[in-house]
């Protein structure tokens, strides 16, 4: 039953893994800087790159974009 489908990742976990995978944050930033500030900055970068409204918030449009099918090449930097 669709209602029983539970998405495995919480929104925040989804966002963090997305921003890391596509180059908007680095593992170093992940560990060191102030979480809230760096998340807002990274979200704004992603929203700018994908032509979304630059709110710096994890809003519905941003979450939907994170769930949408896409190419795996990082948006910032390239494969190492």
């Amino acid at each position: 039953f669709p209602g029983e489908l539970v998405s495995t990742l919480s929104d925040m976990e989804l966002a963090k893994s997305y921003l890391l995978r596509y180059g908007y944050t680095t593992e170093v930033e992940e560990r060191t800087s102030n979480k809230q500030v760096s998340l807002g900055k990274a979200l704004r970068r992603m929203q700018k790159q994908l032509g979304l409204e630059e709110t710096g918030q994890l809003d519905t449009g941003t979450l939907e974009a994170m769930r949408a099918p896409r190419c795996g090449v990082p948006d910032v930097g390239a494969f190492l």
């Binding site: 669709p2 209602g3 489908l5 032509g51 949408a68 896409r70 190419c71 795996g72 090449v73 390239a78």
Partner: protein, 575 residues
């Protein structure tokens, strides 16, 4: 481009397909990759040659989860594919996630464009050599008989098939007057259309073969549950028939949305049966994703332009064209070559179309005035409330204006809104609402952006903004040649485009520049397969395409599937 403007140091590139996805015929995957490379060779001096052994510049593979390069895929949906910028070894290679459903993007694997021995259209799915086909890639005519090849490399496979010889077409409905829902089972055989229909003892029947006199194969369409209203996880309407838990369904009763996924219940008492099903995904277009990934293999990075091929998110596009952003990027790296000029965005015309001398009593306007917002048309005055739309045999034109369906006939029109219980309003006077318009028109449509209303009669057209009229002007002004007869209808598309239908062809009109796009007319049958080619009215209503002939209409989903046939009066006008 990538940092350092990575690019190949030679133009004649090679590629090799290391393995294939089971979702599609190898030939179809080869064909899709070939077309994807052509996207780039068309606008640069680059050439691409497929090799079948050894090390190619671009090695292509399908893999799932961790597949050998340290950048694992993630199962169905989400990450579809990736590729590496130009260079040696893994550089330049392209990998596709094989946990995705790879198709041509519109959910069906191959597409027919031809009909069967007696020239009628193929009806899908059809069986050939025990295999069910929903389309075919290539078609032709041998000894006067049309055939369709079911794989792109039909030379080698010689998989020809003649669509079923039965000329099947439903116009029938079942006992409650609703159209047949296909496929339906009668006498143990599944039918997806029927030839003739009629009514005996209050029941509707449909004959399942052209020569029904002898065969007397009548069948009552199964009582319809409901029409499909479901969709799949990508938000697309269901593609029918679909199988769920091994059972094939042609419609679903109820739908809903959970976690962004659409679902559809397959029985009316779904609470107890809990027979949920996700309509099969349309899948992802191997051609579109490959064209994007090969852009990376050639040195292009992601774009921020939503309409560009190199934008990172996937969206299915039927008539694909490279965006100037893509062309500028690849030509920055490799130059232009002898390919066709990239289609620069068409400049909006500077000259103002001089309004033609107009009939007395109407106020023609210049372009500026035309830009003003539409005044709400005054409440039309019924000329003849006794005149009943339900008594009309058919209509000159049908279209939706300001959210209400308008039915035009001999200088009068009626409106019907699906939302208000008031049902049919009118008859109203066309001359009162649109002064200067002829009494008998052929077609009309409202431009969704500017709210202007276009009318067509013979080879002329009029544009109204409220009561302000521009015209009449010849349809040749729009770029529609002399060969075209009357315009029979219009379908509004996105981005200011409208399809205009005439006879068995259609044109794509760019409403802003009021010119039809290059590459038109096209054969209606190529895309709108399964609707009558001599429709009297064509209109968009509730996001579906309606083709009317006589008292019937054929309704088609945005995925070009006829999902309903019925009576204009009973179903649409609700007489």
């Amino acid at each position: 481009t990538f940092e350092g403007d990575l690019k190949w140091d030679h133009m004649d590139l090679t590629y090799r397909v290391m393995n294939y996805s089971p979702d599609l015929d190898r030939a179809i995957i080869d064909d899709a990759f070939k077309r994807a490379f052509k996207v780039w060779s068309d606008v640069t001096p680059l050439t691409f040659t497929q090799i079948y052994s050894g090390e190619a510049d671009i090695m292509i593979m399908f893999g799932s989860q961790e597949h050998g390069d340290g950048y694992p895929f993630d199962g169905k949906d989400g990450l579809l594919a990736h590729a590496f910028p130009p260079g040696r070894g893994i550089q330049g290679d392209a990998h596709f996630d094989d946990d995705e459903l790879w198709t041509l993007g519109n959910g069906i694997v191959v597409k027919t464009r031809h009909g069967n021995a007696n020239g009628a259209n193929c009806h899908f799915p059809f069986l050939f050599e025990g295999h069910s086909y929903s389309q075919c890639i290539t078609e032709g005519r041998t000894d006067g008989l049309p055939w369709c090849a079911t794989t792109a490399s039909y030379d080698r496979d010689k998989k020809y098939g003649f669509c079923p010889s039965e000329l099947l077409y439903t116009t029938g409905g079942n006992s409650d007057g609703s159209p047949c829902v296909f496929p339906f089972i009668f006498d143990g055989t599944s039918y997806n259309t029927c030839t003739m229909d009629g009514r005996s003892d209050g029941y509707r029947w449909c004959a399942t073969t052209a020569n029904f006199d002898q065969d007397k194969k009548y069948g009552f369409c199964p009582n319809r549950d409901t029409a499909v209203i479901g969709g799949n996880s990508q938000g697309d309407p269901c593609v029918f028939p679909f199988t769920f838990l091994g059972q094939s369904y042609s419609t679903c009763t109820s739908q809903g949305r959970q976690d962004g996924k659409l679902w559809c219940a397959t029985t009316s008492n779904y609470d107890t049966d809990k027979k949920w099903g996700f309509c099969p995904d349309r899948g992802y277009s191997i051609f579109l994703v490959a064209a994007h990934e090969f852009g990376h293999s050639l040195g292009l990075d992601h774009s921020s332009v939503r309409e560009a091929l190199m934008y990172p998110m996937y969206s299915y596009i039927q008539d694909f064209q490279l965006h100037p952003d893509d062309v500028q990027g690849i030509q920055y790296l490799y130059g232009r070559g002898s390919g066709p000029e990239p289609t620069a965005p068409v400049p909006v015309p500077t000259e103002k179309p001089q309004p033609m001398p107009t009939e007395a009593g109407s106020t023609s306007t210049t372009e500026e005035e035309e830009e003003e917002t539409l005044q709400p048309t005054a409440t039309p005055i019924p000329v003849d409330p006794s005149r009943d739309a339900c008594m009309e045999k058919d209509f000159d034109a049908i279209t939706e204006i300001n959210g209400e369906l308008h039915f035009f006939k001999d200088g009068k029109y009626w409106t019907h809104s699906p939302f208000w219980k008031s049902g049919i309003q009118g008859a109203f006077s066309m001359a009162y609402t649109w002064p200067g318009l002829p009494a008998v028109i052929d077609a009309a449509f409202q431009d969704l952006l500017t709210k202007r209303v276009f009318f067509f009669a013979g080879r002329q057209f009029w544009v109204f903004s409220g009561k302000n009229m521009l015209g009449p002007r010849s349809i040749e002004k729009l770029g529609i040649g002399k060969g075209a007869g009357r315009i029979s209808g219009a379908l509004q598309r996105g981005r200011g485009k409208v399809l205009l239908f005439s006879g068995e062809s259609y044109w794509r009109l760019d409403v802003k520049v009021q010119r039809v796009d290059k590459g038109y007319p096209r054969a209606t049958d190529d895309v709108f397969t399964g609707v009558p080619l001599d429709s009297h009215n064509v209109f968009l209503f509730q996001d579906k395409y309606h083709f009317c002939r006589g008292s019937f209409y054929w309704r088609m989903t945005p995925h070009y599937q006829v999902d309903r046939v019925g009576y204009v009066k009973y179903d649409i006008l609700q007489c």
